[in-house]
């Protein structure tokens, strides 16, 4: 297999603009002859659907929620980056590009990341024009703040609900097109398979989550924007319904899955408190702007935090990373929280937490200022834990948050299956081995508003698409396949619940494929996941029936896919015998315990091709070498 990145020639700064000039256009009167499927209505899917419809294509949009407005992008709190340099602190497109490449530990494509930085400025313009109420200064201009991994203030924010406001902007733009008749919106529909005809993506199979009906949809191109797969860990900051099913089924139809082991662990979440717990809640990373992270210096110091004097506190991030302090990137903050708690310095009832303390910020800026900046986050924390963070420090711990891996795409965001485009978190492209704060919203909207609309057109202008309809045998086969999978799940009739299987998988993943990994653990994980998968198909109990609203049946299908993906993640982590970003292989650390990359041998994207050999999962590795023409690869240092 030849993974061609299709990165345009020429200087970095001109690649995208030149590419846009060379891209093929579809005439307005022809656009209305083309149908495009967009799966997912988050920042990437919503903005893509709205933009494609605005251009004149007929868009079929699908989401699993009851409304397009509920995609999990809604929960992103902190902000969105752009290189506007409004604060005049020396920011530029180059700096945003450089920070993103470096923050991703040089495991992303230079050209894609530069384009992302370039487009970032347009996103802010677009969102403001749509009425997104970003924070403003008294003079009426936009306000900015700084964020993890950056030394400039380039983050635009709408209190602690930036994702919500940006998503509502995209959703509203979508609904405008629904009203115009250019988007046909199908809520409570789950994509179960991809239909490929003559080697090109030509449609999807969905299940109507209310009636259970299996439906067929045909199009000239399919855009997948279904988010990440963090829920493979069971506990994560993802919404409960977030899943990998659409992407995984595309993978099983031939789309390669890139860098599956790159998972971001977010450092500032509310810690786990018990087995019943259904998910983890993230506290915005922006809190690290003013909050100071510390643990007691002495093991077993169980005094209330207010009674621990300054000399008995260890501000370990400020101590170890003086130039970034509490604003080190997420992987560094997460790993250090693990190190101090593994050393027995953790706080709270489980010992799996560190303090995030606002005492000094409140003294310095006053309670009013702190409340204006973070009030809703403080309220949320108090509601969940029963503690008041104005009076006592928050307790935080890392949790699985965002997946940098995803379906492989070229510069046009097209997978190796022609006609299948992948946007936002569902693709692998822009974050490398680690994602900087406030760059997820940027990527989702960049892909959806500013890249997909052009590159899909470029494909359509060129693609020779045969006349076909949903009675084609490929549709028959895929629809039967989807139905058979559901029947199989319902017929196992075992005695262990779907949630129990999911929880067990999550524990294997967190313990052995989590913050830090090693060869032995990964090998064990692979075997344990295989065993669990086998047990699942013999002993899972799925209640209810197929032709009805049945949440546990939905879960069962998703957990079955997670049980396959989990193994691939462990396999990818095992093969990548280096540390990179969030992916710490314990065998490869610097003397100071930082991730030690091996650029010589691993400067590539690992793209896995699905093979089913006699019912066994076998994945074949393909490599896309990463070339760094414009930046010099350096050991990341935040000292």
């Amino acid at each position: 297999m030849n993974l061609e990145s299709k990165v345009p020639e020429g200087p970095l700064k001109e690649k995208w603009s030149k590419h846009l000039e060379n891209i093929k256009l579809v005439a307005p009167n022809n656009k209305r002859k083309h149908n495009i499927i967009v799966v997912g209505t988050g920042l990437a899917g919503g903005s893509a659907a709205a933009s494609l419809a605005e251009l004149g294509y007929n868009v079929q949009s699908f989401c699993i929620q009851d409304s397009a407005r509920r995609a999990h992008s809604i929960a992103a709190q902190g902000g969105i980056n752009a290189a506007k340099n409004y604060p005049n602190d020396g920011d530029s497109i180059w700096r945003l590009f450089y920070d993103t490449i470096k923050g991703g530990d040089y495991r992303s494509r230079e050209s894609n990341v530069y384009r992302l930085a370039e487009i970032s400025n347009e996103i802010i313009d677009q969102a403001v024009a749509q009425g997104v109420p970003f924070a403003r200064e008294y003079g009426g201009l936009l306000a900015n703040r700084s964020f993890g991994g950056a030394q400039v203030s380039r983050t635009f924010y709408a209190r602690g609900q930036t994702g919500q406001q940006l998503l509502l902007g995209a959703y509203q733009a979508m609904m405008r097109q629904v009203h115009e008749g250019k988007i046909d919106l199908h809520t409570r529909h789950e994509m179960l398979d991809l239909v490929i005809i003559d080697g090109k993506a030509r449609g999807i199979i969905t299940r109507d989550l209310v009636t259970g009906e299996i439906k067929r949809w045909m199009a000239d191109a399919v855009v997948l924007a279904t988010g990440g797969y963090g829920n493979v860990f069971y506990l994560s900051t993802n919404a409960k319904n977030s899943n990998v099913t659409a992407a995984w089924r595309c993978h099983k139809r031939g789309a390669t899955f890139a860098n599956p082991c790159y998972v971001q662990i977010h450092p500032t979440c509310i810690p786990v408190s018990g087995d019943y717990q259904s998910k983890l809640t993230l506290m915005s990373e922006s809190l690290r702007n003013d909050g100071r992270v510390w643990v007691p210096k002495k093991k077993g110091d169980d005094r209330p935090p207010s009674e621990i004097p300054e000399e008995d506190r260890w501000y370990y991030l400020e101590d170890k990373y003086p130039s970034f302090g509490n604003l080190v990137p997420r992987d560094v903050a997460s790993r250090n929280a693990k190190i101090v708690t593994d050393d027995g310095l953790g706080v709270g009832p489980t010992g799996k937490a560190v303090y995030l303390d606002f005492r000094d910020a409140i003294e310095r800026d006053g309670r009013q200022t702190i409340s204006e900046k973070y009030g809703n986050l403080f309220d949320m924390y108090e509601n969940i834990t029963g503690d008041n963070p104005y009076q006592t420090p928050m307790r935080i711990f890392p949790a699985v948050h965002y997946t940098m891996g995803g379906l492989w795409v070229d510069y046009n965001l097209m997978s190796n299956v022609p006609g299948l485009f992948v946007a936002g978190e569902a693709n692998f492209s822009d974050h490398g081995a680690n994602r900087l704060g406030a760059s997820a919203l940027m990527q989702g909207l960049s892909d959806g508003y500013f890249i997909i609309p052009y590159t899909v057109g470029n494909y359509i202008a060129d693609a020779e698409l045969s006349e076909t309809d949903t009675n084609h045998e490929a549709f028959d086969e895929a629809a039967k396949n989807a139905q058979a999978h559901i029947d199989k799940l319902l017929n196992v009739n075992g005695d262990k619940s779907v949630i129990d299987f999911h929880r067990e998988l999550g524990k294997i993943m967190w313990d052995k494929v989590g913050i830090a990994r090693n060869e032995e653990g990964l090998k064990e994980a692979i075997q344990e996941i295989r065993d669990l998968r086998e047990e699942f198909w013999q002993n899972v109990r799925v209640p209810g029936e197929a032709a009805n609203y049945n949440k546990y049946l939905e879960f069962a299908g998703r957990v079955a896919d997670f049980l396959e993906l989990g193994e691939l993640m462990a396999e990818d982590a095992l093969h990548r015998d280096e540390s990179a970003g969030c992916h710490l292989r314990e065998e490869h650390q610097t003397e100071e315990g930082e991730a030690l990359r091996n650029d010589e041998d691993y400067s590539y994207v690992a793209a896995w091709e699905y093979r089913n050999v006699n019912g066994e999962l076998k994945e074949e590795l393909h490599k896309e070498d990463l070339e760094f023409e414009f930046v010099e690869l350096k050991q990341r240092s935040y000292k």
């Binding site: 903005s47 605005e54 929620q65 009851d66 409304s67 407005r69 509920r70 999990h72 809604i74 929960a75 347009e122 802010i124 313009d125 677009q126 403001v128 024009a129 749509q130 009425g131 109420p133 403003r136 200064e137 009426g140 201009l141 936009l142 209190r159 609900q161 919500q164 406001q165 959703y171 509203q172 733009a173 609904m175 405008r176 629904v178 009203h179 919106l185 919404a239 409960k240 319904n241 408190s273 018990g274 019943y276 259904s278 809640t281 993230l282 949320m380 509601n383 969940i384 029963g386 508003y449 005695d495 619940s497 949630i499 109990r541 209640p543 209810g544 009805n548 609203y549 049945n550 546990y552």
Partner: protein, 254 residues
Amino acid sequence: MAETFTIYLKVWRQDGPDKPGKLVDYTCDQVNEHMSFLEMLDVLNEQIIADGGEPIEFDYDCREGICGSCNLMINGKAHGPKAMTCSCQLHMRNYSDGDTITVEPFRAKAFPVIKDLVVDRSAFDRIIEAGGYISVKTGSAPDANSIPVEKSTSDTAFDYATCIGCGACVAACPNSSASLFTGAKLAHLNRLPQGEPERMRRTVNMVEQMEEEGFGDCSNFAECEAVCPKGISISAIAEMRKNYMKAAFAGEEA
């Protein structure tokens, strides 16, 4: 680990939109104070599945109080007893051992029941579809700082923009009015300079769509404001009316 206690539940069970429904009794004896209300229902569902029954269906997703999916009527109150809180963020520390809790769907003519506690709230999407946006094309927007917006204007717009579309306002209203939902979106978009040009038309279109969906009129009970998990003020409704009247006098057509 926290101590467990027992909660008695009466839960609305309904097989489908056209099927009759009834309250069914359950006992959940594995409750602890740190669980959210939805986690308590998860635990109960696991118990029901283990006993060979069909789990209770209810909507949820983010469980962080922001997506607006969850929608339980808990002891007759939308999202339960705690102010400014979604069902997913209501914690069992608000209840005591032996309490009996009745759980029902958000009821309104415009929110038909799909199954058990799940209702269809797509009427809200159609209200937004009627005008809940600013008509701007992708990729041609002027520089974001070219139109200053007074901080207080932006802050107030934000206060209204925080609506999560959960529908508690409708469920709590004796008239099943969607005025707080519609008013909030109008109060967000209408006050921004970017949203100004379409203000009248937007107001007329959204208000008329709201009526068409079968939501009742607002008669100032203010129950909506009391249950809104985002604390949206009913002054949004006053603004909506003022603009609607102005538009009517100006002869603005929908």
